[in-house]
């Protein structure tokens, strides 16, 4: 088709398309330059760190680099019986090099992650290996400790050979790969993460529901009240935004603690007895209450901005056509607010599943979330790769929700204002 149609020329004889591109080039460059700082900022502060996090979560090069000869010689070993002499010899030389560089401690920590019991036998090997004679390293190493003669431990070492691993992700859902390469659950009494994931989803879900239930009437009122009242109400809604998050959380601590204002009030009106005060803090209740209050504006604002655009005559039309106030609301008003509901719920839910400070302060043991666990591994155990893995799992969870929302409601149906 296009080859048949005659090329359109400008009055100066230049093809129209070329001329148009030339004319718009300047504008395009201008637009790009305006966006460039933000683009650069996002790449530096967002794309790189997340990329680095992804690498960290699967990176297992440390052991690979510490025992290069061992892993090379292990390639031929089938893993059924104890490895042959070359493996022991290679391990001995790798180990001697590590001792020289004083890195054998790190090796023991790393191997201990894979299988408990490495710490002590590596310490022992370090001491004994000084007096090793040349040749027949298999016998000598095996004689250091009976675990060195256990094929399980050698298999454990071999499992650390690949430079990349998904072990951290398995650990994030309380699973691990056993010696035979099967993926199995950790014993029931040591499963912590699954509970946390479920609790995070549960709290995020209910916080979203509570926020929605409270925000919908407020937003409706805001959108329908005369300006002078709605401005005041809007300030009340936004007030929390202008207060430090820490201050707000701390004030919830004052309110909710056992000797706090809410309990005092309940005792005063006789709802609970003085020696049986409610525990509302350092558990899930605390997390629910504080998070709902803190995230409420994120639900109110998108709802408000959508409701503001709904003409009041639509509800009137619904009623004049014979719909009861409820029918008019449910069939006319409510469907029109769905873009706002979607935006608000998505916003609150995504913020809630990654919430950190508030659950850390008022959540106690039963109210902490996965983000607190991530922070724990970042700061206390220094297992950054595990923290990264869980961070990425959280991120992909958000993306899944986003994808689901797009499938169900359509992302272009979202309205933030």
């Amino acid at each position: 088709m296009s080859s048949e149609t005659k090329q359109i020329l400008t009055t100066d004889g230049i093809p129209l398309e070329v001329s148009l591109k030339k004319a718009e080039k300047k504008n395009k460059i201008k637009a790009f330059l305006l966006v460039a700082p933000l683009l650069l900022f996002i790449i530096i502060t967002y794309v790189f760190p997340i990329g680095d996090m992804l690498m960290r979560s699967v990176d297992d090069k440390m052991v690979t680099e510490m025992l290069p000869k061992t892993f090379k010689s292990m390639e031929k070993w089938d893993g059924e019986d104890l490895p042959p002499e070359e493996v022991f010899e290679a391990f001995y030389f790798d180990f001697q090099k590590l001792i020289e560089e004083e890195r054998e401690g790190k090796l023991s920590t790393q191997l201990n992650y894979t299988k408990n019991g490495f710490k002590s036998i590596i310490k022992k090997l370090r001491r004994k290996s000084k007096s090793f004679e040349e040749g027949n390293y298999k016998e000598q190493i095996m004689s250091v400790h009976r675990r060195w003669a256990d094929v399980e431990y050698w298999r454990a070492i071999k499992r650390r050979a690949p430079a990349y691993t998904y072990q951290k992700y398995l650990k994030g859902v309380d699973m691990y790969e056993n010696e035979k390469g099967e993926i199995i659950n950790v014993p029931e009494d040591r499963r912590v993460h699954r509970i946390l994931w479920l609790r995070t989803l549960e709290i995020a879900f209910f916080v979203t529901v509570f926020c929605f239930l409270m925000a919908y009437p407020i937003a409706h009122l805001l959108a329908t009240l005369p300006m002078k009242y709605s401005n005041l109400l809007m300030i009340c809604v936004l007030l929390p935004f202008w207060t430090s998050l820490l201050v707000r959380t701390a004030s919830w601590m004052i309110l909710l603690q056992q000797q706090g204002i809410v309990n005092d009030f309940f005792v005063m009106i006789g709802l609970v007895s003085d020696d049986n005060r409610l525990e509302m803090m350092f558990n899930k209740t605390g997390s629910y209450v504080a998070m709902t209050q803190i995230l409420l504006p994120f639900m109110v604002l998108p709802l408000y901005s959508v409701m503001k655009t709904i003409s009041p005559s639509l509800m009137r039309a619904g009623k004049s056509l014979g719909g009861t106030p409820f029918v008019a609301f449910w069939k006319v008003y409510f469907p029109l607010t769905i873009p706002g509901i979607g935006a608000g719920c998505l916003l609150v839910f995504i913020l809630a599943i990654g919430y950190y400070i508030t659950p850390a302060l008022v959540g106690g043991a039963s109210g902490t979330l996965i983000s607190n666990q991530i922070a724990f591994h970042m700061k206390s155990t220094l297992d950054w790769s595990f923290a990264s893995a869980m961070g990425l799992m959280l991120l992909s969870g958000v993306l899944v929700i986003y994808w689901l929302y797009n499938k169900l409601v359509g992302i272009d149906n979202i309205k933030l204002g």
């Binding site: 039309a317 009623k319 056509l321 014979g322 009861t324």
Partner: protein
């Protein structure tokens, strides 16, 4: 079957929003069954408030409204069974045209096959067959307007209220829609209460017009009577074009009165003046005053042409006449009026019957 003359009755209705100002004052209005009545007035005159009270979205502060003999103040809007067309159509944007029309039928639990028939009928009435599956956003303003009309009629209400339904349309479309709504009214005989601030719309469409100002009905009569025989100077001013002279009654006798202006006397028809010495505004329609009158007219005066504006089918001539420099004449464009030139002195004449002496402004 006799027609119910008091199908809708406003009985001494007052309405105030803030307890200080009455928006509607002592409204007394009867609307007959099958009538097309227009509430006409400037914005803020209380006409929309009246409509909203009738629809049930506002409650009268005092008095009662009767629909077919029943007091309706305590009946909620959805039980009144009154169709309504809103200013901005108020079509449900998330529903198709079909679903919009089905809404009033569904809430009345009318079976699907019957309601489909009604919807077909309503859509063909506004010539929108084949548009049932469109969304309102895909329709033009005029089409949306027609859907709104169809929706207000689809459940066969006895009374339909229209709140400035054509306000958002362009001029040509507005005119054709006026005729369309008028024809629909004539064909199905529904009672229509129509609110507008556009006088030509009101004159075209209505059986009777209630002119509102300041919360009161100034005049309630048929369009021709309203135009030809306005009862006060507000109505004369509001409906159509109007030339006025302010003066004082110097004599009144035999159905005529003499009004003394600053530098002349004119004869007029005493409508709202009773005796000598009263202040009055004399109103004359532009088309009732003639240039170079041939007939014997009892008012003939000389004026100077100040402005001539060509309008195609007629020419508007502004004349300084008896101290009123805003005196407008409409002269049909024919070859006999060639002496209409700027600055010419011409004779203007009119009958005293057409010069209505009304209340002073």
């Amino acid at each position: 079957m006799s027609i119910n003359k008091e199908f809708v009755k406003f009985d001494k209705v007052d309405k105030s929003y803030d307890g200080k100002v009455l928006v509607v004052k002592d409204l007394q209005l009867d609307i007959a069954e099958g009538e097309f009545i227009t509430m006409l007035g400037p914005s803020g005159s209380g006409k929309t408030t009246c409509l909203m009270m009738l629809a049930g979205f506002e409650t009268p502060t005092n008095g009662e409204i009767y629909l077919d003999g029943n007091a309706i103040s305590s009946i909620p809007p959805h039980k009144r069974g009154i169709g309504m067309v809103f200013q901005n159509y108020a079509l449900f944007p998330h529903m198709t045209v079909y679903e919009n029309l089905a809404f009033p039928l569904r809430v009345r639990k009318i079976p699907k096959d019957e309601s489909d028939k009604k919807i077909d009928k309503a859509l063909s009435m506004v010539s929108l067959q084949g548009f049932a599956q469109r969304m309102p956003g895909q329709l033009s303003g005029g089409q949306q307007q027609r859907v709104a009309v169809a929706r207000s009629l689809v459940f066969d209400p006895q009374l339909v209220l229209m709140d400035e339904p054509l306000g958002a349309l362009d001029k040509n479309l507005r005119e054709s829609m006026q005729y369309e709504i008028k024809h629909i009214h004539e064909s199905i005989g529904v009672t229509v209460v129509y609110v507008t601030h556009d006088q030509s719309e009101a004159l075209t469409m209505s059986n009777r017009i209630a002119v509102f100002n300041d919360g009161k009905v100034q005049q309630l009569s048929s369009p021709d009577e309203l135009y030809e025989k306005p009862v006060n100077s507000f109505v004369a001013e509001f409906i159509g074009e109007n030339n006025t002279f302010a003066g004082e009654v110097s004599d009144i006798s035999g159905g005529k009165c003499k009004v003394k202006l600053a530098n002349a006397d004119i004869l007029a028809n005493p409508i709202s003046v009773k005796g000598k010495g009263e202040r009055t505004t004399v109103s004359i329609r532009p088309e009732r005053a003639l240039i170079n009158p041939i007939d014997k007219m009892d008012n003939i005066h000389k004026g100077k042409i100040e402005e001539v504006i060509y309008h195609g089918d007629h020419t508007r001539v502004r004349i300084n006449l008896l101290g009123n420099s805003e005196f407008i004449l409409k002269v049909p464009n024919s070859s006999s009026n060639l002496d209409i030139k700027l600055g010419n002195e011409i004779k203007i004449g009119w009958n005293s019957d057409d010069a209505r002496a009304l209340d002073p402004k």
